[in-house]
């Protein structure tokens, strides 16, 4: 009897394993009366759920394709060994390849499912979850649970990094470190945007939002970034490097956290992260101020990760635009766009490449805006590409008042996705109702209207410029006649134009990004002498030196190469005997040339002789 029963049970279990329905099996077991406690059913339920879950996970684990399992184990081993090279390969190519192959439209297996493969290593699971949620946010729409869990996971990760006893013995590639910070801010931004859409929320979502209103709060995000900066003492580090201190001295200054590359790079990337967050919240001066110690040149550490490099310049340029410092913005965009053009052929990793291209496109739009507002002599290369993409808008924008829609279009396309720091009032129902009926304007619209106000103020400038270019001195009333405007109004417009041609611009040796002098940005200058406008234009003489020097050096190089190249002795020797043996060795390539040539000559002679 006992044996029979066991067999039956096992059989049931096998079937149930596939259907994940253990009720029958355990139900039988309970009915046999071995345990009569009233408490038994409750315990059974708990174990039932636990076993159900375990079995489900085991099923899911079995469902994972083998290459993925192997990858996870290999990845885990690399992380344990702190083998930076292996980790980089696994992170950059392995993960993406497997995503394309198996998980292009679905989620990766959950962390709990793969936990047995990695011996429940919590640290690795946190890192795995980071990648898991990144995938969810990019390929699949995250739901509210995803958002909350990804926040919790990020908190756990940063907690582990910042609040363990001493620096953690982990080494990760720089690309990954940048992606952690980047993704953290992106998820914050995504959440704020989602949160402000009040109308589409379900009841459940509303409740969760009220309960968890600390999740993804601005303060917590800023807290993380500032803590990373403080822990790694990155600002002191940069200053010490600039002062040329030695390695030991620097290590002393920055302490045990700052001397480890993991923390140093995280601190550095947090500076760029702060630049981004402050820009998103609309505080442009603070955004530039946090970058005080970072030098914007090709040698800075942020250029090591291309995505970081591009992001930095984009936000710096945008902040300058909002500060109405157009020459500085132009300079920033030109340098990074040149960089992108040059490195395009080296960067074919698809997921990064698309994003960089998209940012580059936005920067071309911003460059077009700056150029229209503050025309200056600028890199022809970039200007040509901009004309290709935005030629229509460029033409419209230089027509003053008519160009406003073009400005609006480009600005909205190219601006960052601004967020508002405060959530809608989910806690109080009547406030929420009022909010829904009369929603405040979106942050992007607010910033747009500020920008357009400035553009509108400068609207008369292009027309005036075109007139002034034609004269060296002109009476104000005559100019008013040309423009069909009142003289006084015209004088005021001239003052606007004068003001527009002066900008604060950062010269070579300014410390920090906010410094600068007032410089003239226009080649057309004028002054009003009571009622007479005197105009002076400055032109650029022909520049030939650079081209001349480059061409000469190129010629030198060619000459040197030829001089040092081996003399082509062999071909001359083989060519000499060839004509003598032309009839005997018709297969000799050079030989066939010669007779055919002489043959051709003969034919020509023959022809001419014949003609005569």
């Amino acid at each position: 009897m006992a044996q029979q029963r066991k067999a039956l049970w096992e059989a049931d279990l096998d079937e149930d394993f596939h259907d994940v329905d253990l009720n029958l099996a355990i139900g039988n077991y309970g009915q046999n009366g071995l345990y009569d406690d009233a408490a038994q059913p409750r315990i059974d339920e708990a174990t039932l759920i636990a076993v159900q879950q375990q079995v489900a996970q085991q099923a899911a684990l079995a469902a994972i394709p083998d290459p993925v399992k192997r990858f996870i184990i290999h990845f885990h081993q690399a992380v344990l060994d702190n083998n930076l090279g292996e980790i980089t390969v696994a992170y950059e190519s392995g993960w993406n390849r497997l995503t394309e192959k198996f998980y292009a439209k679905t989620e990766w297996p959950e962390a709990e499912v793969i936990a047995p493969l990695v011996n429940d290593d919590q640290i690795f699971l946190i890192l795995y979850r980071e990648l898991y949620y990144r995938h969810v946010y990019s390929r699949i729409q995250p739901d509210i649970d995803d958002r909350y869990h990804s926040y919790e996971n990020s908190c756990e990760l940063f907690n582990y990094l910042l609040n363990s006893d001493g620096p953690v013995p982990l080494e990760l590639p720089e690309q990954w470190l940048w992606d952690i910070i980047d993704e953290f801010i992106y998820q914050f931004q995504s959440f704020c945007v989602w949160r402000s859409k009040v109308k589409a929320k379900t009841e459940e979502e509303l409740m969760v939002l009220v309960d968890g209103n600390q999740v993804w709060s601005s303060y917590s995000v800023l807290n993380v970034l500032y803590s990373l900066i403080q822990k790694s003492k990155i600002n002191e580090h940069i200053v010490a490097l600039q002062e040329g201190k030695g390695k030991d001295e620097i290590n002393e200054i920055v302490g045990e956290y700052g001397s480890r590359p993991l923390y140093r790079m995280l601190g550095y990337f947090s500076l760029i992260g702060l630049l981004r967050v402050h820009s998103l919240l609309g505080d442009f001066t603070l955004a530039l101020k946090v970058m005080d110690s970072v030098e914007l040149n090709q040698k800075s550490p942020f250029t090591r990760v291309t995505a970081c490099h591009v992001t930095t310049y984009y936000y710096v340029g945008f902040c300058y635009i909002m500060l109405q410092r157009y020459p500085d913005a132009i300079r920033a965009f030109v340098s990074v766009l040149n960089f992108i053009l040059r490195m395009r052929q080296y960067h074919t990793r698809s997921y990064q490449y698309d994003q960089i291209n998209k940012t580059a496109d936005r920067m071309y739009a911003l460059f077009a805006i700056c150029n229209a507002l503050s025309p200056s002599r600028v890199d022809d290369n970039i200007l040509n590409v901009t004309k290709e993409r935005y030629g229509e808008q460029l033409a419209k924008m230089s027509r003053g008042e008519e160009g406003l829609p073009a400005f609006e279009e480009l600005f909205l396309y190219a601006c960052p996705k601004f967020i508002s720091a405060n959530p809608p009032p989910y806690e109080e129902a009547e406030l929420l109702q009022a909010y829904m009926e009369d929603p405040p304007t979106e942050p992007a619209q607010r910033h747009l209207s500020l920008f357009l106000a400035d553009v509108r103020a400068k609207a008369p400038v292009p027309t005036l410029r075109s007139f002034l270019k034609l004269y060296t001195s002109l009476d104000a009333s005559k100019l008013a006649n040309f423009l069909d405007a009142d003289e006084e109004e015209m004088v005021q417009q001239l003052m606007v134009m004068k003001r527009a041609s002066r900008s604060v611009s950062r010269m070579e040796n300014e410390k920090g990004l906010l410094g600068g002098q007032i410089t003239s940005t226009s080649d057309l200058d004028f002054v009003i002498d009571e009622n007479m406008v005197n105009i002076a234009e400055s032109t650029v003489g022909r520049r030939y030196a650079g081209w001349f020097i480059r061409s000469t050096e190129h010629a030198q190089r060619v000459l040197d190469t030829i001089r040092h190249a081996a003399l082509p002795i062999s071909t001359i020797k083989s060519a000499a005997p060839a004509p003598a043996h032309s009839k005997d060795t018709p297969t000799n390539a050079t030989a066939t040339v010669n007779p055919s040539r002489s043959g051709g000559q003969r034919v020509a002679w023959g022809a001419s002789v014949k003609a005569v």
Binding site: A421, N422, A536
Partner: protein
């Protein structure tokens, strides 16, 4: 000290404020009163510190319950006087949309005054000075004048300073009538103001023409930007020629 550095770090800022503005303490809501006191100091003593005021607005952004409309209006007024710097726009950028105020006891004056202040700023941006003074003295701006600008020491003088900066850059000589409309001064007031600036009025031709002393902006000359070839650039060329 370069222009923009002076704007970012005014010499009149104390060390306490400097630490607050440049450090992490700026996020601490309990520090808002220090910054607000500093603002009132600026109002009373004709100083101006843009970044400190932006710090106040940022604290309001994150802690809506700290919001004080009087402070905001004072900041905006001060920013008006800083044209052509973009301060006014920066302040507005930080003012998130206000939620509908459900507290009827303390009405919020900002929504009604904001359009007036914005219009004043637009007029200054477009250099429409006579229109500015007209709006400023009209009934619309009455509440603004009575409650706020009257407390701000030297507000009108600061605006006149903006006008003077603009005129200095664009004019070599300007008719005194025109200048008077820009400054909203006439007759003896105008004469004494011009004398205070150190400029001369030449009353020979009718209503007088004011001569503006030369400065980098109103001296213009046609320049041709020539190339400047430095010897080091040619070193490689010459060295190669020597060895060849």
């Amino acid at each position: 000290m370069s222009v923009a550095t002076a704007w970012a770090t005014p010499p009149t800022r104390t060390e306490l404020i400097e630490n607050l503005v440049s450090g992490v303490d700026r996020y601490n809501p309990s520090n808002v009163s220090i910054l607000e006191d500093y603002l009132y100091h600026q109002i009373r003593s004709e100083e101006y510190d843009c970044l400190a005021n932006l710090a106040i607005l940022k604290l309001y952004q994150f802690n809506p319950d700290l919001y004080n409309p009087d402070v905001v209006i004072n900041i905006l007024i001060k920013a008006l006087t800083s044209t052509p710097f973009p301060d006014f726009n920066l302040c507005i950028s930080l003012l998130d949309e206000r939620l509908v105020n459900t507290n009827p006891d303390e009405p919020d004056p900002l929504p009604s005054l904001l359009p007036v202040i914005t219009e004043l700023h637009t007029l200054l941006q477009q250099c429409r000075f006579p229109a500015f003074w007209q709006l400023y003295h009209s009934d619309q701006a009455e509440s603004l004048r009575d409650n706020y600008t009257v407390e701000c020491v030297g507000f009108e003088d600061s605006v006149r300073n903006v006008v003077v900066q603009t005129v200095k850059a664009a004019f070599r000589r300007i008719g005194s009538d025109r200048f008077g409309t820009y400054l909203n001064l006439s007759g003896n007031d105008l004469t004494s103001y011009v004398e205070k600036l150190g400029w001369t009025i030449d009353s020979s031709s009718g209503s007088g023409v004011i001569a503006i002393p030369p400065n980098p902006d109103n001296q213009i000359e046609s320049t041709v930007v020539q190339e400047n070839i430095q010897l080091p650039q040619l070193v490689k060329l010459i060295a190669h020629a020597q060895t060849a």
